[in-house]
């Protein structure tokens, strides 16, 4: 049988890095094929070549046995290749049908298009109302729009880049039903993910990339997540060992905290209450866009709330700004590394100053002690194994994992009493992620309280002592993390059990 897509010898170099080096594999019709690899392994470059966004320096692609060299996505789409990106390209102020129509070459009449959308969404179990506005939809629903948009083209090959990172476990199940149905109809799927359990569930075959090269193939159902992760990383991985948790004195008490989101499509926080104790790692789960950003801003001090809504070691800090809170021991690391946690064009020294100047006393009457700041940056780089030529390199020159190690390291090195991190390992390679989790656990062991806001349930299960879910701006009851199942958390994430009394 001719493979649907045959790749051989694909090479693409960027200045200073070979993103893909002699990559080749095949995808059969009706196969769900996983592309596995750490960040920077070259997965995105590869799919961009297939989708016509990037052109290979050399190598060959064949679709149905015919040479295939798309120069732009339109050509790839015409040949039957569709792609669902990790980041959606939807206009929030427009409806589903309007968004889909915008992406089409020859959009049919609105009514006809709406009918098509309804039909496709019914066929594949993806409930979708063509007249709803994107801004009112959850991330999972927005993804459905992207998928339906692709399915309207009757693709032969559907490329999905990290499709489940924004979904609740239940939504993942629905997605997998759809993918299985597509597969049974003969559509091939190229599935990119770093969630190994999912790959075992859904994928027939896997190709593993490391540093731009194919380092192996496997049948995921015959492997364990650990063996696949080790193929990705190339070394053995150790999982952080969980230490026994006995709650210490209360460090942070949040009571009846409300925050109106500054973003018109953001989620306002409603009646958030919880306590964090010394030595505790509190995991806050939830699908993106349910108030995670707002929660971090409210706790870090970037947004002010009523003064007595946040008590740090008994003191009201709700209307203090970030630097006053830092002085009192409350530190934070936001999700967005470049542009929020760090200034992209500034050196690591300057980025060390960014949050470190109060607590590390890096200024004297407003004058910056650059030598001390440089030493602080160097200490972070050494202690947290940040791979960079030096302290004067720009933040944006670091890989995601290294910059994240720097950002988390910068806060931990300031010995916080309470540390809040949002998505600490998002887009970070497996070894850096393990390192960061270990560092967070160690911080808690030394008596600090740590809040980890994350969408990665496996991560939360691995490091949390206690556990709560953020859904539509409300926080569920905090419960012990031991004995909770992923299914229960999933239901909470969907908002089922969240207390509605405050509404």
């Amino acid at each position: 049988m001719t493979p649907l897509l045959h790749l051989s010898g694909l090479t693409k170099a960027y200045p200073g890095v070979i993103a893909n080096d002699d990559v080749g594999f095949e995808i059969q019709p009706g196969e769900v094929h996983a592309l596995l690899g750490e960040n920077g392994a070259g997965k995105s470059t590869l799919v961009k070549m297939i989708y016509g966004l990037v052109r290979p320096d050399s190598g060959e692609m064949r679709l149905h046995g015919e040479p295939f060299a798309p120069t732009e996505p339109r050509e790839a789409r015409a040949a039957g290749v569709a792609m669902v990106f990790q980041h959606f390209s939807l206009f929030e102020a427009l409806t589903v049908a309007e968004n889909i129509s915008l992406g089409m070459e020859n959009p049919p009449e609105n009514a006809a298009l709406s009918d098509q959308i309804r039909q496709v969404s019914a066929n594949y179990g993806l409930t979708l109302d063509p007249d709803r506005r994107i801004g009112d939809m959850s991330a999972g629903e927005r993804q459905r729009v992207e998928i339906v948009r692709c399915l309207l083209q009757n693709p032969k090959l559907l490329v999905m880049d990290e499709p489940t990172s924004v979904l609740t476990p239940q939504e993942v199940d629905v997605l997998f039903e759809t993918l299985r149905k597509l597969r049974d109809e003969g559509t091939s799927i190229l599935y990119i993910s770093h969630k190994l359990e999912e790959i075992r569930t859904i994928c027939d075959n896997a190709t593993i990339l490391r540093l731009g090269k194919v380092v192996g193939t496997c049948v995921p159902s015959e492997e364990t997540p650990k063996t696949m992760a080790e193929m990705m990383v190339g070394t053995e991985l150790k999982t952080p060992s969980k230490r026994p948790y006995t709650p210490g004195p209360s460090l942070l008490d949040v009571h009846d905290m409300w925050l109106q989101s500054a973003d018109p499509f953001g989620t306002s926080l409603r009646d958030i209450s919880f306590s964090l104790h010394a030595g505790e790692v509190l995991g806050i789960a939830g699908v993106a866009g349910n108030g995670q950003d707002e929660l971090l801003l409210a706790l870090s001090g970037e947004e002010r709330v009523t003064n007595d809504a946040i008590k740090l070691k008994g003191e009201n800090v709700g209307n203090l700004g970030p630097n006053h809170r830092r002085l009192q021991g409350l530190l934070a690391a936001p999700e967005e590394r470049l542009g929020h946690a760090a200034a992209p064009d500034m050196s690591l020294t300057e980025n060390a100053l960014l949050t470190g100047f109060t607590r590390q006393r890096l200024t004297n009457r407003g004058f910056v002690k650059w030598q001390a700041t440089r030493n602080f940056a160097r200490a972070i780089i050494e202690k947290f194994d940040v791979r960079t030529p030096g302290t004067e390199n720009a933040a944006k020159s670091l890989s995601g994992g290294n910059l994240q190690k720097f950002v988390i390291g910068r806060e931990i090195m300031q010995r916080p009493d309470v540390l809040i991190v949002n998505q600490p390992t998002w887009g970070v390679d497996a070894s850096a992620a393990a390192f960061i989790r270990e560092a967070l656990l160690e911080l808690a062991e030394q008596g600090a309280g740590v809040i980890v806001i994350s969408q990665d349930l496996d991560e939360l299960m691995e490091i949390s002592d206690t556990f709560a879910v953020l859904s539509e701006g409300r926080l569920s009851r905090v419960q012990s993390a031991s004995g909770v199942t992923i299914e229960e958390i999933g239901l909470l994430m969907g908002g089922t059990e969240v207390d509605n009394a405050a509404a």
């Binding site: 052109r55 929020h340 200034a343 064009d345 004058f367």
Partner: protein, 361 residues
């Protein structure tokens, strides 16, 4: 097809060399233009860049002029550079320059003929206050209503110019001026006159203020937390909030500082080189200062050189007009080339040009 590709890490040495390369390119392209206009390009370039400083015949006049013209440009450009680094775009330095002159000069006129050493310090402060308050209008409108400071500050230039006209044809009109729309001449008022401190050097109090601004500006930018916070605010609003910078305060400070320095420049200009308030007083220094700020890469030391260079092309350009009959428009085109080449070289340092290759598959 040509395509621009971002360089991973722009070369530091090249960043410093940019202005020099731009000046050389301007000389070459300008030379070609002068040659096409029928003048000897080498003579023209020599007259513009060399004679104002070294020619025995003209330099005794032009050398002091160099400082006199450069001082207000540099003083204003340093103020503007802080705002530009923080993405606060004060385009209305010209208006603040005028209001500094009107408020400071008006104060002097009100005090006339009271002679005391205290008069000059008072009008200096009033000049700065005039520019500061004028700049606070766009600042407050931006903070309160998110009004675009580019538009507001620019529009206020014309308001200021008309206010100046109203003043010099009304309350500030000289009683001994034979009805001309201009104020009393400040060189008749000893206590308020910004005289040359050393004769034939062009050195006046405005030049001293400019030098102080260069030093203080440089220290603030590179050594002080304020400069750091300004730079963070310019790079990423979110990162600066995370670093505890108050965005509204940044807006007010940036506009306030640039307004006060522009006001100072206006005051020194009106009480010294211009010597009177008149409808001819605004010369566009406030707009040229924007170019100077960018030419100097928003760095006080760079601005010092850029201001001197700009001043040189003005004075040299006038000489060339006068001696070679090169049209004024050609001189302006020549100055335009300088900015063009600077920005062009800048692009090439941050990006590389690639020929788009045809399909490989």
């Amino acid at each position: 097809m040509l395509r621009l590709e971002q360089r991973p890490e722009p070369s530091r040495a090249m960043q410093i060399a940019t202005p020099i390369i731009a000046v050389i390119a301007t000389m070459i392209a300008g030379g070609v233009m002068f040659a096409l206009l029928g003048s000897n390009p080498f003579t023209a370039i020599r007259i513009i860049f060399w004679d104002p400083i070294f020619n025995d015949v003209v330099a005794s006049y032009t050398r002091p002029q160099l400082l006199i013209k450069a001082a207000p440009l540099i003083l204003m450009a340093i103020g503007l550079s802080f705002g530009f680094r923080a993405n606060v775009w004060n385009i209305g330095a010209e208006g603040q320059f005028i209001m500094g002159a009107v408020v400071g000069g008006g104060t002097a006129l009100a005090l006339y003929p009271y002679e005391s050493f205290i008069v000059f310090p008072i009008i200096i402060v009033m000049g700065a206050v005039g520019g500061f308050l004028w700049a606070m209008i766009p600042a407050l409108l931006k903070i309160k209503f998110n009004a675009n400071e580019i538009l507001v500050s620019l529009m206020l230039v014309y308001v200021a110019a008309n206010f100046l006209s109203a003043m010099v044809t009304g309350p500030m009109k000289s009683p001994v001026g034979m009805g001309f729309p201009e104020s009393r001449n400040f060189n008749e008022y000893q206590s308020a006159f910004n005289s040359e401190l050393l004769s034939n050097t062009g050195l006046h109090f405005g030049v001293l203020a400019m030098m102080a601004a260069v030093v203080v500006g440089y220290i603030a930018l590179t050594r002080h937390l304020f400069g750091f916070q300004i730079r963070v605010a310019g790079q990423s609003a979110r990162a600066s909030r995370f670093a505890g910078v108050n965005p509204n305060l940044t807006i007010a400070l940036c506009l306030g500082i640039s307004g006060a320095l522009a006001g100072l420049a206006g005051l020194f200009e009106v009480t010294g080189p211009a010597s009177k308030l008149s409808t001819n007083f605004p010369l566009g220094y406030g707009f040229t200062a924007i170019i100077v700020a960018f030419l100097g890469r928003l760095n006080p030391i760079g601005i010092l050189f850029a201001g001197l260079l700009m001043s040189l092309t003005y004075i040299g350009g006038e000489l060339a007009q006068f001696q070679l009959q090169i049209p004024a428009a050609a001189i302006q085109a020549f100055q335009g080339m300088l900015l063009f080449f600077l920005l062009g070289v800048d692009i090439l340092i941050n990006f590389r040009v690639r020929l788009k290759t045809k399909g490989v598959a």
